[in-house]
Assembly symmetry: C2
Homo-oligomer: 444 residues x 2
Amino acid sequence: VSVHLPKGTRDFLPEAMRARHRIISQVQAVFDRFGFEPLETPAIERIETLAGKYGDETDKLMFRIHKRGADAQPGECDLALRYDLTVPLARVLAMNPDLPLPFKRWQIQPVWRAERPQRGRFREFWQCDVDIAGSRSSAADAECVAVADAALRAIGFHEYTIRINDRRILSDLARSAGAQSLEQELSVLIAIDKLDKVGVNAVQAEISGRGFDPNGLAPLWAALASQVEGEQALEALSPALSESGREGVATLKEVIRTAIAMGVDPARVRVDVSLARGADYYTGPVFEVAANDPSVGSVAGGGRYDGLVERLSGRDVPAVGLSLGLERLLVLLEGAGALSGIEAAPTVLVTVFDATTLAASSEVARRLREGGIATELYVGDGKLKAQFKLAARRGHRWLAIIGPDEVAAGTVTLKNQRTWENVSVPVEQVVGIVAALDPGTGVR
Amino acid sequence: VSVHLPKGTRDFLPEAMRARHRIISQVQAVFDRFGFEPLETPAIERIETLAGKYGDETDKLMFRIHKRGADAQPGECDLALRYDLTVPLARVLAMNPDLPLPFKRWQIQPVWRAERPQRGRFREFWQCDVDIAGSRSSAADAECVAVADAALRAIGFHEYTIRINDRRILSDLARSAGAQSLEQELSVLIAIDKLDKVGVNAVQAEISGRGFDPNGLAPLWAALASQVEGEQALEALSPALSESGREGVATLKEVIRTAIAMGVDPARVRVDVSLARGADYYTGPVFEVAANDPSVGSVAGGGRYDGLVERLSGRDVPAVGLSLGLERLLVLLEGAGALSGIEAAPTVLVTVFDATTLAASSEVARRLREGGIATELYVGDGKLKAQFKLAARRGHRWLAIIGPDEVAAGTVTLKNQRTWENVSVPVEQVVGIVAALDPGTGVR
């Protein structure tokens, strides 16, 4: 019998599950409050839906599913596990032309990528996306930023900066450097995207090496050298921009102003005119939420992708979205001890003395559960000693002990597992007394 | 571009998602209260883990995943989508020998089966399982029954009967009919399992046809003919049983007594000495929760399977479990209108007059959201008329209208979408007034 997990996958045992549930439900509550609506799509999609949407290299990383049935040729695959949540969204938009627009949805589901497993990277991992489809307004971009900001604060993560730029600004400068097609623009942008890691000189060298003129980007180098920030940097760049770039500048200012009105702390927002973001489909504002600890890197990112839905689905729907790095955030919060307060076990363990007292113990468990108190009834084969050991190991806060004496008297002995104090209480009052002694039950 | 779903799969659009979320969270709350712990396992398992565990026919229904990489042979599959939640549980038990026993887990995740799609049956569907591993006590069996009963009541489904039997009773009678191996016993049980559908005469004929003597089951036919019910039927059968069968009778009585002490209504529990349940791995008590409407059939089922975990994982762990028919229950509840009260849209739609008032509208949205009121800010490209249309279509209960007059006065015009009444309120008081006018917000 094989008792291994597939490479790059994980079981989530109860403790991990409780932490994930808490974080995910906090994030969902924020999404709901912002008026985003839940969507789920199947894990499997048709190969035709997925293939060719991400590039050849990525197609190789898909988990492809062999066709079933007697007529399937060896190696014939008709389905694959979804690779992200964006292509499925585009498919949903194409298949549901009656959905009222703008359609704001959140989606938290696993995706599968056969990448080489490494520390903190998995082949099955959860994506957590918000997208707004069907609006060209900068209010939609701002709302994606604001909802991500509110979600991060809701889960207790506060050490971050929101970097923001508009793809049209860098594209404009790339054209001044000699780029003549979208492909060439992207080639320059990919070089600029490495600025944080390799510095200005190396980026300029790479741009030259790719056959473009780094002097065309002089306003960018000047802005970076003078360390002007935010809207000042935009002002410094504006004279060098064409109409498209100036539209980018104007949009960016609107997005920031609106996001702040929506509740984003202005101190967290930083215009970063060198922010390119890798993906080739962005057409307007782009965002990246960076942890202030540089070793952590990005915890969320996104942008506007007005052409992508049409390319994926044939239906022209402008869209903007943002993806929270849920897996990374869970690791960060765990490392910061933020997930340690989560209740590890039901509040009470009701012990079972022997078969003759089982019904009495069961009734006490029933009363506690109906009173809203999470209760474990011991249903194992062990004696009292084994039950006490289990309670110590699992961390129940109370033992409810019912032996023959208690059955005769109609009482329960409640034992506080921290103080080891005992109190004998009538069965009818057990819920009220546990709730009174232990405010952590949340029962009033 | 392919815009089809794979056969037998579904998208869950927002309305369906909200109904599923509500039902699933109600069920989870009951599981938690009973001390069951959450577990999730990967969608993909190694072929070796799954193959040969369910029989040849079932192996053909698995979605097998083609091996990645240049060295994969055409048709070479190394992984498959999980087929149920029981084999993954057995793998988890085998891989985690330190888990304290009894281990009580709940698991609600999709499974994949390439069955011919038909009405109400899907190739991707959710299973909802509770299992208790590591206990031979009848308290564990009773707790599975009690938690299923409590979960059904929590989701508002009340029209059901819990049928219960012990596999050892029928096995005993099957031996009297001439069965000499487990396989032959199962052959007789499969015939008996059809009793509800085909009647006693047809079952007897099938038993004869399979080469066994239906007269060996005379006590069963007598019990069925006399229509004695419950424990009386057990008494009637007992004289005909060997020690194993009598153990079954004793266990069954204990399970019923304990389940009732745990809160199950005695009127719902019915001993059914003809209940066999199909699966070949049951070794003790078996249960089936049947909707009182016979056209609906079973909504939950399970039983004790003491040998299965060892067969699947090599680790000998007795276990009992129960599966709620979540998909069927959702259809039933929807049909009964029980899911119609679920909020279809955020409470308030904040309108946007034009670009000059966007910041003011955004601030009102921020106040409402921070006050805990689910709020849609209009982020589309349409004029006020389009916004009103959207609100009518989506069903927001309130419009918060902010035009230039309101901006100048520092007010919001709140419009009740049901009564069409307007009220002008200061921006600072918008949360309190919406909460006071609309108790449905839940804000106090």
